[in-house]
Symmetry: C2
Subunit: 189 residues, 2 copies
């Protein structure tokens, strides 16, 4: 789980912060410590994942956790310090599905500015259809490309990536796709 709540206290000295544009030529308001001067930056996060396929099927994971619990997703999660995009994509696929695969090229790079995220998906050919889902996954299973549960997908990043995968698989030629997603907020139930 990742939190993007506003910073209230300085991480260097524990003093309450104030919000202002720093004096160093910056143009944005940041949490600045009036005691020790530390400026606290908050920046977009990288989400990394894979499109794990075998023949005309892809692996999807049913989410056991919020957000979008119970919906299907491609395996993906937050990139960690010390790893590359590809290493993060592989790790998340292992953690969420326990899947064995050969990692392929970068496939989609999707900015989601409303949530401050960039999602990067790599193609990945499965080398086994035995899975070992982790705690964040209720079920990991293969779906034929004709049987993708479009109405039960967790995220627009996932549905857009799967649509591109299906289109390009028909031509047997995969590109790298960089685009943005802006969404309408969901209405309260």
């Amino acid at each position: 789980m990742q939190q993007r709540d506003a910073i209230k206290f300085c991480r260097e000295c524990g003093h309450a912060v104030t919000y202002r544009v720093p004096d160093d030529g910056d143009t944005r308001e940041r949490a600045v410590c009036p005691n020790c001067g530390t400026v606290h930056y908050v920046n977009p996060l990288n989400v990394v994942g894979t499109v794990p396929y075998f023949g005309d099927q892809v692996l999807l994971c049913k989410r056991a956790i919020a957000p979008r619990e119970g919906f299907w997703t491609l395996p993906a999660g937050f990139m960690e310090l010390g790893e590359t995009l590809a290493e993060g994509a592989r790790r998340e696929t292992d953690e969420e599905a326990g899947a064995q695969l050969t990692l392929g090229p970068l496939f989609t790079v999707i900015s989601v500015p409303q949530v401050g995220q960039v999602h990067s998906f790599f193609l990945a050919e499965l080398t086994s259809l035995d899975f070992d889902p982790g705690a964040e996954t209720v079920e990991a299973r293969m779906f034929k490309l004709d049987d993708i549960p479009w109405d039960e997908l967790a995220f627009l990043t996932v549905s857009r990536t799967l649509k591109l995968f299906i289109e390009e698989r028909q031509r047997s030629q995969f590109g790298v796709h960089c685009f943005d997603i802006r969404f309408q907020p969901r209405k309260p139930a």
Copy 2:
């Protein structure tokens, strides 16, 4: 300027944090607040920039600030919340060089795990050769591709991106290149 120093105090309540693996199934050590339970995540940052070209020339900026003050770079900087990769690349090019351009496709996506960064460069065709460098830039000027000051470039991400640009420009076909850079630490002088 961006800091990645260790977190010492909780941003929610100001209490001193401890470092441990959280109890929520996480596998990594995080700064956890023993008072309010907040877990503090630190993740890789996105650096976004452009390869601003016109004919057989590219725009480089001489850095006025650390790191690598006095060396030449492609315009690039940290992606901000609320923007897309492309918007960030355009903003940084404007801030560092004041350059007018038509933004093109994503060109390189480079993981630099030792510093916890992902660098994304977009191609960008200049629509004017008048520049207006910002405070982070001593000088912004065009270099012929035969005259790139290779020994005075600030970063490996910049030199690798420029080399790919020169190679692919000869074939007039540009791809998207995702790769990693791991470097030997510089020896102290």
